[in-house]
Amino acid sequence: MEVEDPSLVEAAKAGDAGAFKALVVRYQRKVYAVALGIVKDPDLAWDVAQEAFLRVHRHLAEFKGDSTFSTWIYRIASHLAIDAVRKERRSQKDDVEDLHDVDLGDAGEGILSSALGQDPAENLLRRELAGRMEAALAELPVIHREILVLREVEGLSYEELAARLGIQKGTVMSRLFHARKKMQAALADYAGLRVEGSGGEA
């Protein structure tokens, strides 16, 4: 039977290295995934994920269990990942909130949902798109990658996103919208579902 997180955390707090290792093994892939989504470089994501566990170990005694262990470790990982790309952000033009680069009226809405059909969860195209998503995500500006990962992988609410990123709720919604539009456009392009106005056929 699998030992629950709180028991492992308590054992790790008491100095049980085996318990801490069990926590690492349990969450390593998800933590790496969170980091990868934000930093996009696999080696940097690996380093960020290891550093996240290092921080957890250092501050384990301070963890009171107000949130779940998984929430705590994902939060640390995403913080570290955002810090890691901060320097990159400063040197990139994509830090600008590009509110006007998506044509609201002519961006091929519905193409993906039509192609994916009535049962997208079981759809072959969906699996193919998931395979393409990593590349699509990597094409996005870092501010869009991070908000998509925080929303869809960490599951943060608008309020939590606003607090985490230090922006207003309206900016959260706007940034998420643009991130989704760009991601959908990239996916549609990969899938050969050209968006209207982009020169291809729907």
Binding site: Q28, Y32, P42, L104, L137
Partner: protein, 157 residues
């Protein structure tokens, strides 16, 4: 278009994230806007794809060395400083540490002693006077005469 700019960013919200007024406005807008309904359908259709893609990327990677890497970094981060290590050793092996500490102290004291004595020898060298009387050599030092007898005399006396 103006309403789309207002309401489209609200698409994809979870229950409770919009104010009642925002939620009502969005519903009313969706009822009359095919473009926004289509965007909503795309959001729903692609929901979870980001997490799925990243988990697939993580699944492709070999995580066998990950945990050891973490533990190594923890050990390295926890390596104590010199003072902490000495304090810890003092607690664990007080006699050994005191003995160990005495060795360099004794060595330093010996070096100082030798150096000061050799300095005195050099100083004394200027005041030494040598005289030979038969097989006996007399050295006049600042501490008085020193008689050096050769082996024959020494053997007879």
């Amino acid at each position: 278009m103006k309403d789309c700019a207002i309401y489209r960013p609200m698409i994809g919200s979870q229950p409770g994230e919009l104010s009642p007024a925002e939620a009502a406005g969005l519903q009313a807008h969706l009822g009359g806007c095919g473009g926004c309904r289509a965007f909503q359908a795309d959001v729903l259709a692609t929901e979870g794809l980001v997490a799925q893609a990243l988990e697939r990327a993580a699944a492709r990677r070999d995580f066998a060395p990950f945990v050891d890497g973490v533990m190594t970094r923890i050990s390295a981060a926890r390596r104590p400083g010199l003072l902490e290590r000495l304090t810890r050793q003092l607690r664990l092996h007080p006699r050994l540490v005191v003995s160990g500490a005495l060795v360099p102290l004794l060595a330093a004291a010996l070096a100082l002693y030798v150096r000061s004595n050799s300095g005195a020898d050099f100083a004394d060298a200027h005041t030494l006077e040598l005289h030979s009387e038969g097989s006996t050599t007399i050295i006049q030092s600042s501490d008085g005469p020193v008689l050096l007898l050769d082996d024959d005399d020494n053997g007879e006396s």
